[in-house]
């Protein structure tokens, strides 16, 4: 996509991540309600499943991407001083990348 369509691209990513999260939340919610884990072992066994681990990781990556675009939009709307805007965007960007690494470590290392 060209430089001019970058707004369209973020708009699209915001919606695609939303669709994935919507499907995940509904499916995981139903699954969790039907097979509610009642102990640590059951909960850990559930999350140690590769399919659940990977789809949950994808959920968090979608969430963090969605949060980045949303926060970026909010900051660009209200913060008009370039230095503060850059500092906030940089801080939030690194925080989200760190959070992504953190949640991937948690979810992908669960074993029974």
């Amino acid at each position: 996509m060209s430089r001019k369509s970058i707004g369209l691209r973020t708009w699209l990513i915001q919606r695609l991540s939303a669709v994935y999260m919507l499907l995940f939340v509904v499916c995981f919610g139903i699954y969790f309600a039907v097979c509610t884990p009642s102990s640590f072992l059951e909960w850990r066994t559930m999350m140690a499943n590769s399919f659940i681990g990977v789809t949950t990781t994808l959920f968090f990556l979608s969430l963090l991407t969605h949060a980045w675009i949303g926060m970026r939009d909010v900051i660009m709307d209200y913060i008009h001083i370039d230095s503060i805007r850059l500092a906030l965007l940089t801080g939030i960007g690194f925080a989200l990348l760190g959070t992504a690494t953190w949640v991937m470590k948690i979810l992908l290392t669960v074993s029974v």
Binding site: A18, V25, M47, L64, M71, V74, W102
Partner: protein, 125 residues
Amino acid sequence: MENKKRPVFLDLTRIDMPVMAVLSVAHRITGVLMFLSIPMVIYLLGLSLSSPQGYETVTSLFDSGLFRLIVLLALWGFAHHFFAGIRYFMLDLDIGVDVVNGRRSAWCVLGAGLIVTVIGMVMML
């Protein structure tokens, strides 16, 4: 911006906001609040998966009334953002773009968010 002296009127206390505008503002606020709560959610997720003791710590949090209140608030914020998001999808697809339907769907979103919160409240009792 060619005309920097153009009049700007942004006195939010005097602007009569239609329900769609209230919804939009709430969509933003709930989004920012959920962004701020991400670290806490991941911390609790990691703790619950770390050890039987960590799992006990997380589940026993639900014994506290304050924690339940926070969970309910979070549930409302999530439900509101969820349903308002679906509404924006429909608007993107040109469904219900006119004023009458836009107003109606906005009220539905507000109602749906509250209904989910009440269901959550009943389930926690």
